[in-house]
C-alpha cells in the first residue's frame, strides 16, 4: 500500500501544518512510513502552496508523489494549479466556498471548512477542519491517531479549539460521504 496525498491552498492557510499532522499521525501514532514535503512561493501570505504526504507500509524511496490519490483543496488558484496529476480514482475534498469553480465533471466531497471554522470563532483552524474531514472521508488512518497528532502539533493553549475543529470537520466529512 502506498498513498499520495496533496493538500493545497494559499500561503498562510496552514496547508503545511495539515500535511505535517497527517504524516505524523501515520508514522508516529501508527506504524506506517511517511514523508512530507512542500513547495510554496516566496510570499509569506498568498500564492499557491502545497504540502504532500506519502504514506506507505513499505520503505519510501522517491519522496515526492508521482500521482495523487487524495487531493484536499482550500483555494481556487491551488485547485487549478495542482490537479493535473491526480489519478482517475482520486478522492477530492474541497471547500466549495473557497473553490467556487469546482465542477470538473468528477465526484467531489464538499466540506464547508471555512464556515465551520468561523462558527468556532477563528478561521485560522480551517486547515484542522479539513484534516478532520480528511480523516473521515479518506479513512486510511484511525481517527484517534489523527486527533492525537493534532493535539501533539498545535500550541497547548489552543488545544480545545483545534480538537473542536477536528471533530466538526470529521462530522462534516461523514455527512459529505452520506451525500454521495
Amino acid at each position: 500500500m502506498k498513498k499520495d496525498i496533496r493538500i493545497c491552498g494559499f500561503g498562510g492557510q496552514g496547508v503545511i501544518l495539515a500535511g505535517f499532522i497527517i504524516g505524523k499521525a501515520a508514522s508516529v501514532f501508527e506504524n506506517y512510513n511517511a514523508v512530507q514535503s512542500q513547495s510554496y512561493g516566496p510570499e509569506a501570505r498568498g500564492g499557491a502552496a502545497r504540502s504532500e504526504v506519502i504514506i506507505s507500509d513499505e520503505k519510501i524511496g522517491y519522496p515526492r508523489p508521482v500521482g495523487v490519490d487524495c487531493l484536499v483543496a482550500m483555494s481556487q488558484e491551488s485547485f487549478d494549479t495542482y490537479r493535473d496529476d491526480i489519478r482517475d480514482d482520486a478522492v477530492i475534498i474541497l471547500d466549495p466556498d473557497l473553490v467556487k469553480r469546482h465542477e470538473i465533471g468528477r465526484k467531489l466531497y464538499k466540506v464547508n471548512a471555512l464556515k465551520i471554522a468561523e462558527e468556532l470563532g477563528n478561521k485560522i483552524v480551517t486547515n484542522i477542519v479539513m484534516v478532520g474531514a480528511f480523516a473521515s472521508i479518506y479513512g486510511l488512518l484511525k481517527p484517534e491517531s489523527v486527533k492525537e497528532s493534532v493535539i501533539d502539533s498545535v500550541p497547548k493553549r489552543f488545544t480545545d479549539l483545534n480538537v473542536k475543529a477536528f471533530e466538526r470537520g470529521f462530522e462534516a466529512g461523514k455527512n459529505a460521504l452520506k451525500k454521495l
Binding site: 505524523k24 508516529v28 514535503s37 524511496g61 522517491y62 519522496p63 508521482v66
Partner: protein, 394 residues
C-alpha cells in the same frame, strides 16, 4: 563558564523519542546529542531552520548561539570556540559555503575540530534559493586552496541527518579536522520519522586533551598520549599549555616556518595522513542487490532515493540492478569502486549537478566497466522513471 554535556537536559529539550521532523531540525538534534556547545549562525535558505532550531534549543542546554555578521564571521567564531574547548558547528548553503572556504582551510591547517552542515541548493551564485542540489560535492574536497583531506557525509533520510551530524562530530574530534554534513534542500526540507538513540547506544568521541607535563608538550606533532597516532593532543586555550595557532606553515611548536620545504611537507603530510592512514576503516556505504548485479547505481544523498525506486522497478522486470550508496563521500571509497567496476558491466552515477562524483567513480573504475553520468539540475530530483531509462540504455 565551562559547558558540561548534560544528557538529561538534552533529552528534555529534544522531547519524545519518536518524532516526525524536518531534516534540518534533525541536524540540530544530532549536534545537541553530540554535545555541541557553540553555534555560529548566519541564516540562508534552505539551511535557516538549522540556525533557528539551534537558537531555540542550544541556550536551554547551556550552550551559546551567536548570529554572526556573515558566514565568514560564523566559521571564524566556530573555530575560535573549538579552541576554547567547545564542540562547535555552523550550517549554511552554497553561497555561504563559498564564503567559508578560506577559513575552512584555516581549520584544516590549524587542526581545529568543527562541523559544517551544508544544506546544498542550486548554483552558481544565488541560484535557486529554495531548491535542492548537490553542487558542492567537489567544493568540499577541493574548494579551499592547498592540500587537504575532506570528511564529508551525505544523508539520504531525515534519520541520517541526525545520525551523520553525530558521526561528523566524532570524526572531526578524532582527526582534528573539519567535517561536513553535505545534505541538500530536498532532504533538509523533508519531514520523516526519526528515532532518537538512547544514551547507552550513543557512541561519542572527544578530542584527546593534552595531559603530558606542560614543559614537554609539543602542540603540532604526533599524539603524545596515543601511540602511532598522527593527531596531536589538543591544548584547549586556558588550560596552561603553550600554543601558537597560525594558518602559516608552522613547525611542531606551532611557530611560523614558511621558508623551508621540509617543514611544509612534514606538516601537510601529517595533516593528510592522519586521515588517509585510516581510509579503509572510514568506508561507510550501503550496498543493495549487488551480489548478482550487471548494472549498479553509485549514488549518495537525496539522489539515492529515486535510484532505489528505479532499482526496484528494474528488479520487478527481471533486470539485475544493484546500488552502492556512499554515506561518507570523502574520503572516497576508491578500492570499493574498483572492485565494483570489476563485478558489473555498467555503473550509473545520478547526481543533482552536471557530474561531480562521477569523476572519482570514473577514475577508480579503472576502465573495468562503462561509467555513465546521470545528471539533473534545476532544483528537482530525478524521477525514478528518468533513472529507469538509463538502465534501459536510453
Amino acid at each position: 563558564m565551562k559547558y558540561k554535556r548534560d544528557p538529561k537536559r538534552i533529552r528534555e529539550v529534544l522531547g519524545k523519542k519518536v518524532q516526525f521532523i524536518l531534516g534540518d531540525i534533525a541536524c540540530v538534534y544530532g549536534g545537541l546529542l553530540a554535545g555541541v556547545s557553540f553555534f555560529g549562525g548566519y541564516p540562508i535558505t534552505p539551511a535557516s531552520e538549522v540556525a533557528e532550531g539551534m537558537a531555540r534549543r542550544l541556550p536551554r542546554v547551556g550552550g551559546v548561539y551567536i548570529q554572526m555578521e556573515d558566514e565568514i564571521g560564523s566559521i571564524a567564531a566556530v573555530i575560535g570556540a573549538a579552541w576554547g574547548g567547545s564542540k562547535s558547528m555552523t550550517a549554511t548553503s552554497g553561497p555561504g559555503f563559498s564564503l567559508m572556504m578560506e577559513n575552512y582551510g584555516f581549520a584544516v591547517m590549524t587542526e581545529t575540530p568543527c562541523v559544517i552542515v551544508n544544506v546544498q541548493r542550486t548554483g552558481p551564485s544565488t541560484g535557486q534559493p529554495t531548491l535542492g542540489a548537490q553542487g558542492d560535492m567537489m567544493q568540499v574536497r577541493w574548494g579551499t586552496h592547498g592540500d587537504l583531506e575532506a570528511l564529508a557525509f551525505a544523508p539520504s533520510t531525515v534519520q541520517e541527518c541526525m545520525d551523520f551530524t553525530i558521526e561528523a562530530f566524532n570524526l572531526s574530534e578524532k582527526y582534528r579536522n573539519p567535517a561536513c554534513v553535505m545534505t541538500d534542500g530536498e532532504v533538509g526540507h523533508l519531514r520523516e520519522r526519526i528515532v532518537i538513540p538512547d544514551e547507552k547506544d550513543l557512541k561519542l568521541i572527544d578530542r584527546t586533551p593534552a595531559t603530558i607535563d606542560k614543559k614537554d608538550f609539543i602542540p603540532f606533532t604526533n599524539s603524545q598520549t596515543i601511540k602511532n597516532c598522527k593527531v596531536p593532543d589538543f591544548p584547549t586555550f586556558g588550560t596552561g599549555y603553550r600554543t601558537y595557532v597560525t594558518g602559516l606553515t608552522h613547525n611542531e611548536k606551532g611557530f611560523p616556518a614558511t621558508d623551508k620545504q621540509p617543514d611544509h611537507e612534514r606538516l601537510v603530510k601529517r595533516i593528510t595522513e592522519k586521515i588517509m592512514d585510516d581510509a579503509d576503516k572510514l568506508v561507510m556505504v550501503e550496498e543493495m542487490n549487488l551480489d548478482d548485479a550487471d548494472i549498479a547505481f553509485v549514488t549518495y544523498g537525496a539522489t539515492a532515493r529515486p535510484a532505489e525506486s528505479a532499482m526496484e522497478m528494474a528488479r520487478k522486470n527481471g533486470m539485475k540492478v544493484g546500488l552502492l550508496r556512499l554515506k561518507l563521500v570523502w574520503p572516497f571509497p576508491d578500492k570499493l569502486i574498483t572492485k565494483l567496476a570489476k563485478d558489473v558491466d555498467k555503473i550509473i552515477v545520478p547526481e543533482m549537478n552536471l557530474g561531480q562524483i562521477v569523476h572519482p567513480v570514473n577514475e577508480y573504475a579503472c576502465k573495468h566497466c562503462e561509467v555513465v553520468s546521470a545528471p539533473k539540475i534545476g532544483g528537482e530530483m530525478h524521477l525514478p522513471m528518468e533513472l529507469y531509462k538509463y538502465l534501459e540504455g536510453k
